[in-house]
């Protein structure tokens, strides 16, 4: 019961943040709205018993990636007013594509059996968390079962680092 009430509150927060992100005319306003959405998501992860993911959601998305976005906004001096930079036709095509994708994802989400929110204050993960810690629970599957995916992630990060240096260095 309490979980469901909280879920509705945070889901509403996430949706409102997303709306604010799309509707805000000021890029910085958009960015802050997106941060609000991320907080809603982090809270929902907590409700699902995924404590580590919720912390990572804030540390990585709100604390790192959004800071990069803020830098880009300020770097390009986009801070004040709004100009439409794409022509109407392009907007329609892009908007249609995006809506189609979202519709497809929603359709799939409704079709698949939904994840039940655990009832009451305790969740089935709690015992595991109690024994291994919220972070320790992640470790065994991440580093044993998905070790290849984990190693490939490092290559992805390497590409990001090198890409940034190559792109930025051209002008320095």
């Amino acid at each position: 019961m309490i979980r469901e009430i909280l879920w509705w509150i945070f889901a509403a927060e996430a949706v409102l943040g997303a709306l604010g992100m799309v509707l805000s005319r000021n890029p910085v306003g958009s960015l802050l709205s997106l941060v609000v959405t991320f907080f809603g998501l982090a809270a929902i992860y907590v409700l699902l018993g995924a404590f580590f993911i919720s912390a990572i959601q804030v540390i990585v998305y709100a604390g790192a990636i959004m800071v990069l976005f803020l830098f880009v906004i300020m770097l390009l001096n986009l801070g004040h007013d709004y100009h439409a930079d794409l022509r109407r036709g392009v907007w329609l095509v892009l908007g249609g594509l995006a809506s189609g994708l979202i519709g497809f994802v929603l359709y799939r989400a409704v079709r698949t059996p939904s994840l039940e929110l655990p009832s009451g204050l305790t969740s089935p993960l709690d015992e595991l968390v109690q024994r291994q810690g919220a972070v320790g629970v992640i470790a065994a599957p991440l580093f044993r079962d998905f070790s290849v995916a984990f190693e490939v992630t490092s290559v992805l990060l390497l590409v990001a680092a090198i890409g940034a240096v190559v792109l930025a260095k051209r002008r320095v």
Partner: protein
Amino acid sequence: MLEAYAPILVLLAISVLNAVGMVVASHFLGPIRPTPVKRSPYESGITPLGDTRERFSVKFYMVAILFIVFDLETVFLIPWAVSFRTLGLFGFVEMLIFIAVLVVGFVYAWKKGALQWE
């Protein structure tokens, strides 16, 4: 486990109330008598020249990207460190490879001067 987060909600509410209350209170208690000179940016007494919001060096952007890369590395290191002793040698070698790949990127950025600040 969920109940552990309850105090955080209370604390959040108190902190927000406190911050908003302070700003609102000083808004009503203090005088507001703006003049054009008072409102102009303070630049050590010299009349401001040009636009404030200039574009700035791409260096900052590069630092932000590198920060994301290494922040993610830290995020992966945390669960590994916590279960370090149960994962044993396999986990250690695995993480050594992961770190080695990222160190390649780090050395590249270093050699290219991305970390050099003139």
